[in-house]
Amino acid sequence: MKGIFNLFIFWLLVFFCSCEEDFVSPDPVSNPVSNFEYLWEDVQNRYSYFDLKSIDWETIRKDYRPLVKDNMSNQELFDLMADMLYQLKDGHVNLTSDFDRSRNWDWFLGHPSNFNGAIVERNYLGSNYRITGPLRNQVIDSVLYIYYSSFANTISTDHLEVLMERASTLKGIIIDVRNNGGGNLNNARLLASCFTDQKVAYARERRKTGPEANDFSDWQMLTFPAKKGRRFKGKVVVLSNRACYSATTFFAQMMKALPNVLLLGDQTGGGGGAPSSGELPNGWQYRLSVTQTVNLEGEHIEMGVPADIAIKMDQRDLVKGKDTLIEAALDILR
């Protein structure tokens, strides 16, 4: 009987011990005010571009905080916080809920598109272009034209080996990244690595390391390596427009650092700060830029990388079904 009593005591102790949640403090209060304050404070602590963009975040708080009401609906709170984040003028800043995703797309919507996908598809790629991984490619007048729509689509060294072989007897390569909104920086580094024989330094980056305004890491050099295997040593023209963002801006900066490459078209849209994510007490998620990136001359690339040759789409060319930028690139390479 004593044994059974001991056993009972043992399991009773275990039962009272197994309350894992009791050792972790409860979730923070979630109401319109607490969610607003949490978002404002985290942006204040982590956002990296207040100085560059001359944004007074304290003043923005004074403007928006009185508008937060205890009885406002989720949609009203979302719209208010989205408006506040809009002031950051940053394509890497979003607020995401079950019902909407806020964004600021002024970096390309306020500028000419300089791109017509239908003309590229019908009059340049044609019906017999090759699709090598995510890279659509066609030989036009002894020049290899490559269109890459998103750095989110993974390229491999095998894809690039095929393209480098295809270009080996040609006069040059056009890499068209217009309307490429970015993606994975590794894809950008891999593509750029096809055009150099050595490791290339192309920019410097620093990261927020704490909540104070000057809590930044040291500047760290950003580089990309030379690709192993086949590479292309001829002339390369990269076509860009304002809808090139984030990893595509980084790609433009990488290619600008190479002597055999020209950037042609409009400047890129920017997006030089790497985004990091967070979550509000009500479960909505958000992201914001937490790094700064400058080119080798110390100029920020947050607002974009300027083209070496600035050319805009000519409306008369459009009527004829021609792409002014591709024609200009072909003239350079032929």
């Binding site: 056993l7 011990c17 197994s18 949640e21 972790v24 390391t209 500047w219 985004p275 992201r287």
Partner: protein, 274 residues
């Protein structure tokens, strides 16, 4: 544009980092005493974990969930000392109260070393040392960048064990209680705004250097780790034994983005004499 003011801090950190491998080696070795062999066991365990965590680098919200637990352990018992070396692994998913989910993996190596000089193993509190090495990784698929976070720590502290034998219907059973609290060690956490440790925010000659420069000292006040493990052992005639138990562990690391983890594991295990 480089922050030249940080050079002094960096050199101080560098000097501290040279001592860090020594500290690591000392903490790792304390758990491995040498002693005469008497009884050796291999232990395999499996179970179910219920856990709760909050990583402020990811969210202010508590994430709770469950996972599967496996353990392989080596237990050595001599006249004066006993040693338990256990490799643990847990894999599972956790959710916030709003349904957002993350995946997690956690591996640990634990070493418990107890002294029992008077040869009496049961009905007596035995003191010893515990060394805990934990690597915990979380993956948040909803985050675009830096969607995985982790923590690593190695620490050392006192442990206590109590064995209480009793009988039910003529069968021998042993109730075992084990508790530990970790006092000193080192830890590595992601930097303030990324997934990778602070040491990697500047050029490093190797990954090892990056890790060493990311190390922070673990001590009460900036970090807590304790646990206890009640267990019921049923010795078999063959000398092997079957156990049923519960293992609770708590840790909190107050790095720039604090992380708190509370987990309880129900497990069944088999000890085989070798």
């Amino acid at each position: 544009m480089a922050n030249i003011n940080s050079n002094k801090t960096f050199s101080t950190k560098l000097r501290a980092s040279r001592l860090m491998p020594l500290l690591i080696a000392v903490i790792m070795m304390v758990g491995f005493p040498s002693f005469a062999q008497k009884s050796n066991f291999i232990n395999i365990s499996g179970g179910f974990e219920k856990s709760v965590q909050r990583d402020k680098g990811m969210s202010p919200l508590m994430y709770s969930g469950s996972g599967f637990f496996t353990q392989m352990a080596f237990y050595k018992e001599s006249e004066k000392q006993s040693l338990l070396l256990a490799l643990n692994f847990v894999r599972g998913t956790q959710r916030s109260k709003y349904g957002n989910s993350i995946g997690f993996n956690r591996g640990s190596i634990r070493i418990f070393n107890f002294c029992h000089k008077d040869k009496k193993l049961t009905n007596k509190l035995h003191w010893g040392l515990s060394t805990n090495n934990v690597f915990s990784h979380r993956y948040n698929p909803e985050f675009v960048n830096f969607n995985d976070h982790f923590e690593y720590f190695t620490n050392l502290g006192p442990a206590a064990k109590y064995l209480y034998p009793f009988k039910i219907k003529g069968r021998n059973l042993i109730m075992e209680g084990l508790a530990h609290i970790q006092l000193i060690g080192f830890m590595i956490r992601p930097s303030y705004t990324s997934s990778y440790p602070e040491g990697f925010l500047r050029e490093q000659p190797s990954i090892f250097n990056g890790l060493v420069n990311s190390v922070k000292v673990y001590h009460p006040g900036n970090a807590w780790n304790f646990g206890f493990r009640p267990k019921l052992n049923y010795p078999l005639k063959s000398g092997n034994r079957i156990s049923l138990g519960y293992q609770y562990e708590f840790y909190k690391l107050n790095t720039p983005n604090a992380v708190t983890q509370s987990s309880g594991i129900w497990f069944i295990s088999l000890f085989t004499r070798i």
